[in-house]
């Protein structure tokens, strides 16, 4: 994929826009581990990964944990984290929310430390795609990042 160079009307240095992607895979068996011991269907450890809104959206219509949906959410969070370029830090699970957007597409909402990392990385809007099959969930996250040409490696 080619990069595009644009000149900001504010910045004095030209900036380059580059794509950045992240991917992650989560086995549903890991979700089952996190659900045990379950309290009200959701384990206390799993609540460390998911926000209250995500937890609400991670139940099947009969109120049971949606294991595939949870695995997809966790994979998407980690995929988004890989966009942030934050080496040597734990994933800010609560600060990367993966929520159901218009038409059922997953949407990403960043807050706190994750939002700061995204700003530092110069990330634009983030898109994610999630798929499940064969006991696994996979997610890809993509965004454009703008960096000043004089800071390129």
């Amino acid at each position: 994929m080619t990069s595009s160079v644009v000149t900001s009307s504010v910045a004095t240095q030209p900036v380059v826009t580059q794509p950045r992607i992240g991917v992650d895979l989560v086995p549903l068996s890991r979700v089952r581990e996190l659900l045990d011991p379950g309290i009200g269907g959701i384990g206390p450890v799993l609540a460390r990964f998911l926000s209250a809104e995500e937890l609400t959206g991670s139940l099947t219509p009969d109120g049971a944990p949606d294991q595939a949906g949870i695995a997809g959410r966790l994979a998407a969070k980690e995929a988004v984290f890989k966009l942030l370029g934050a080496v040597g830090r734990p994933v800010p699970w609560q600060g990367i929310e993966v929520l159901r957007g218009p038409g059922g597409r997953p949407g990403v909402r960043l807050s706190g430390h994750a939002a700061e990392l995204a700003r530092t990385a110069g990330l634009g809007p983030i898109d994610v795609s999630i798929s499940h099959d064969g006991g696994f969930a996979i997610a890809v996250a993509a965004a454009a990042t703008t960096t000043s040409l004089d800071h390129r490696l």
Binding site: V26, R30, E33, L34, P44, V45, R48, F49, L74, E78, F81, G88, R89, P90, V91, P92, W93, Q94, G95, G112, H113
Partner: protein, 82 residues
């Protein structure tokens, strides 16, 4: 909250938890890098923090974690069980 007794030190609980996840290993030296050795991945890291909290009877603020405290059993012991 768990109490740390003479024959079940908190760090031993952490070691046992890691070894329990890796039945191919029978021992874990204090200086083994848990993350570089892939003994603890990003999902297991949260479980590791939960295990340390339970063993040490403390609460860890996830937002202000210093990853170096969790690098090895030795650094975990120094940070949470010293």
């Amino acid at each position: 909250m768990s109490s740390a007794g003479i024959d079940s030190k908190g760090i031993d609980k952490v070691r046992d938890w890691i070894l329990g996840r890796h039945p191919e290993r029978t021992e874990l030296a204090a200086d083994v890098d848990l993350i570089e050795s892939r003994l603890v991945d990003s999902l297991a890291f949260v479980e590791l923090v939960y295990t340390i909290e339970d063993a040490a009877g403390i609460e860890v603020d996830f937002e202000s974690i210093d990853i170096e405290d969790f690098q090895t059993l030795a650094t975990i012991e120094k940070a949470f069980f010293a």
